[in-house]
């Protein structure tokens, strides 16, 4: 009995001590080093040397890197921020920046960015403006986008050549090509129609169709571009140019259909191209091009997404944080990550021979990549995304419904988010 009591008491005390443990984030370790804790959104974003060179160059700074998936990074960060346990740098989907700023969870680093520009113009000027734009909110910079990712269109070159078709430049041409290429062996087109992912593809197509956003970051779906986009989805479904079950497809199924030769074309993110290249040769069996344009609209616009590294409002060593940014965007370091994973905002890397050799399609997108716009985001971006998915699903489920009616119905829901 006494033993049982002692064991229970011991467990209780241990639990109590654990619960009352130090909740302050450590910014300096026992050796007096400045500690910079970084949460990466994917392991692939961590440089191959895992900050070894950084530690050699900066013996006074210790980087502690961890991986917290992008999907849960914001909520985990905010919870830890409330408890004073958050990291100094967190990588998030860029459309969460407004939310984090509104919670006073991020630090305005505009001053430090200016210092970088003044003191090290050579390294600073290599960085595209998108790196700062993607981590900004209301003209203040709260972090840095080291990697960004656009969506392009991929085409089965072998099928196009066999049918004697040109790569489409407009969406009408794309639909014509899909009609031509839709056979018993393969579908004309593949898309992500399911609810598994945010409406990234839908949004990218919307912008390329000259879709516009309000000043608060709401997409104007009840517009010519919005109607055209809805009708585009409806046409694909009505004419069975896509798999009939595409409404439940995730990105994996779309890319599998393309790589497996079950679909002639698809909108796919740049980061997936290396996977396609493993199965087929670029320029021979497959090719890629910037998003087509909406007929009647001159130049189209290309949208990018990003996963910026945001700085906590409680970061004690912002200078050390900036050194981490400089390291992550250093040509040598970021080149390795960009060659195997996502494109970078370091222009020197994007135009380097090594990068273009590793990613043979890169040269075809150099100009478009430099002129991409960052997808605008609303402060209630999660709700915006859910409404966009609803629109996408409504279009696929009701291919004969008037697109203007669908657009008007959901625009009301979108506009309500501003209230």
């Amino acid at each position: 009995m006494k033993k049982a009591c002692s064991v229970l008491l011991f467990i209780f005390v241990i639990g109590l001590l654990s619960a009352c443990g130090d909740s302050e984030g450590s910014s300096s370790d026992a050796d007096g080093q400045k500690v910079v804790e970084v949460w990466f959104g994917r392991e692939d974003f961590i440089p191959e040397d895992n900050f070894e060179k950084f530690h050699e160059e900066h013996p006074d700074i210790k980087v502690e890197a961890d991986v917290v998936p992008l999907e849960q990074a914001v909520s985990d960060f905010m919870r830890n921020h409330s408890a004073g346990n958050e990291p100094d740098i967190v990588q998030v989907f860029h459309d969460n920046v407004g939310t984090m700023v509104n919670q006073n969870a991020l630090m305005d680093i505009s001053e430090y960015v200016s210092q970088w520009e003044d003191n090290e113009p050579d390294t600073f000027n290599k960085i595209l403006s998108q790196a700062w734009d993607i981590a900004s909110w209301e003209d203040k910079v709260y972090g840095m986008g080291v990697h960004v990712g656009p969506y392009w269109h991929v085409y089965r070159k072998d099928l196009f050549e066999e049918a004697g078709l040109e790569i489409p430049e407009t969406y009408d041409q794309l639909l014509d090509a899909a009609r031509e290429l839709d056979t018993d062996e393969h579908e004309g087109y593949a898309l992500v129609g399911g609810r598994e992912h945010p409406a990234w593809w839908f949004s990218s197509l919307f912008v390329s169709m000259d879709g516009e956003y309000t000043d608060t970051g709401l997409p104007v779906i009840d517009s010519e571009a919005g109607h055209y986009l809805i009708e585009f989805y409806q046409t694909l479904m009505r004419e069975e140019l896509i798999d009939p079950s595409a409404i439940s497809w995730s990105s994996g199924e779309m890319r599998g259909a393309f790589i497996g030769g079950n679909a002639a074309m698809a909108p796919i993110g740049d980061n997936i191209f290396p996977l396609i290249q493993e199965e087929m040769n670029y320029g021979e069996e497959w090719t890629a091009a910037p998003q087509p344009a909406r007929p009647g609209v001159g130049d189209n616009t290309h949208e990018i997404w990003g996963w910026p590294m945001m700085v906590s409002s409680n970061a004690e060593h912002p200078e050390a944080v900036m050194e981490v940014f400089k390291y992550l965007s250093d040509t040598e370091i970021v080149s390795e990550v960009a060659q195997r994973y996502q494109p970078t905002t370091n222009s020197e890397v994007m135009s380097s021979d090594e990068y273009q050799e590793a990613k043979p399609w890169a040269a075809d997108f150099e100009e478009e990549f430099a002129n991409t716009i960052i997808m605008p985001s609303h402060v209630k971006q999660g709700e915006v995304m859910n409404i966009l998915i609803d629109i996408q699903q409504e279009a696929l489920q009701n291919p004969d419904k008037n697109p203007a009616d669908i657009a008007a119905e959901f625009q009301t829901e979108l506009n309500a988010l501003d209230n």
Partner: protein
């Protein structure tokens, strides 16, 4: 001398009483850490959730004003939530009916399974031991439109294929099947333990009296395992109302919002839209349904541990 004897006797009685008290208290003492854990984790979450549902806490905004019951009023006037409530009720009803029927069948089969009985009992638990995500992926492979096993079988027999996950009613049915596959084994074990506790002599007597198998089932087994059926139903309803980890990777609520049950709606609202208070409100509503159905089952099936 007599006084000393009385004192000794009293002291002995006291010692015995103390000893008996200690023995009686040991089980409670051993259960205490578990209770502490449940109260600490679940109790805290429920109380905090109920309180949070009375505020307007959204991660997109810094302030969180007290708004009373406005979140509840909003939900019961919001078509998306009402849809998820309706979907949940169909989902739970389907899961409970199918789940109870199957688990009763499995329990009766396992009871009859004398040879290698333990092996089959262990085997029947396998679906419960597989994670929800793995179950969802398995069902996705089975029911995919183009490369799904079921459609391949249908094609082999010259039948038309079905876009199971693209059709709202089929998708809901697939979700119910996946859920039943996941929650049925535990219900089976509960019912099996009930059947095994029935006195074998009752079966023998019934057989001698010429009772048919369905009489034995309806007149002996079902009435005697009624409390276990109550427990089993509580489990099936509770697990179905809370079901989230199978549906999320299987359909994520689609097509449209045809399979968006309340638990999934709660997740989307709280973690995609970062509306924590609204998510907490849905949690309270799910809790209400769980408590309500549990009380009904306990009452109907006369589950009373004191007897």
């Amino acid at each position: 001398m007599a006084s000393t004897q009385v004192e000794t006797k009293t002291s002995l009685t006291q010692k015995l009483k103390n000893s008996s008290l200690k023995k009686k208290s040991i089980p409670y003492l051993l259960v205490f850490p578990a209770i502490l854990f449940v109260v600490g984790v679940l109790g805290y979450a429920i109380v905090a959730g109920v309180l949070m549902s009375l505020y307007d806490m959204q991660l997109s905004f810094a302030d969180a004003p007290f708004i009373g019951l406005q979140n509840y009023i909003y939900l019961f006037t919001d078509s998306t939530f009402l849809n998820s409530l309706f979907v949940s009720l169909i989902f739970v009803f389907g899961s409970v009916v199918l789940g109870l029927t199957l688990s009763l069948s499995f329990a009766l089969s396992l009871y009859k399974c004398k040879r290698s009985g333990n092996f089959f009992k262990a085997l029947s638990l396998v679906p419960y031991l597989i994670s929800g995500i793995a179950t969802a992926i398995m069902f996705r492979f089975l029911f995919s439109g183009d490369v799904g096993l079921i459609n391949m079988i249908l094609s082999t027999f010259g039948l038309d294929t079905v876009n199971f996950l693209a059709n709202p009613w089929w998708a809901l049915l697939i979700c119910i099947l996946a859920n039943v596959w996941f929650v049925c084994p535990f219900a089976t074990l509960i019912l099996l333990s009930g059947i095994q506790s029935v006195d074998q002599e009752l079966f023998d007597s019934a057989k001698i009296d010429g009772a048919h198998k369905h009489h034995i089932l309806l007149k002996i087994i079902l009435p005697l395992i009624a409390p276990m059926m109550g427990i089993s139903l509580i489990w099936l309803s509770f697990a179905s109302f809370n079901m989230f980890d199978v549906i999320l990777p299987l359909t994520n609520g689609g097509p449209g919002r045809a399979t968006e049950v309340m638990a999934l709606y709660m997740y989307n609202v709280a973690f995609d839209e970062l509306q924590y208070s609204l998510g907490s409100t849905v949690m309270v509503i799910i809790l209400f349904f769980n408590v309500l159905t549990s009380l009904i089952y306990l009452k109907v099936f006369n589950v009373n541990y004191s007897e």
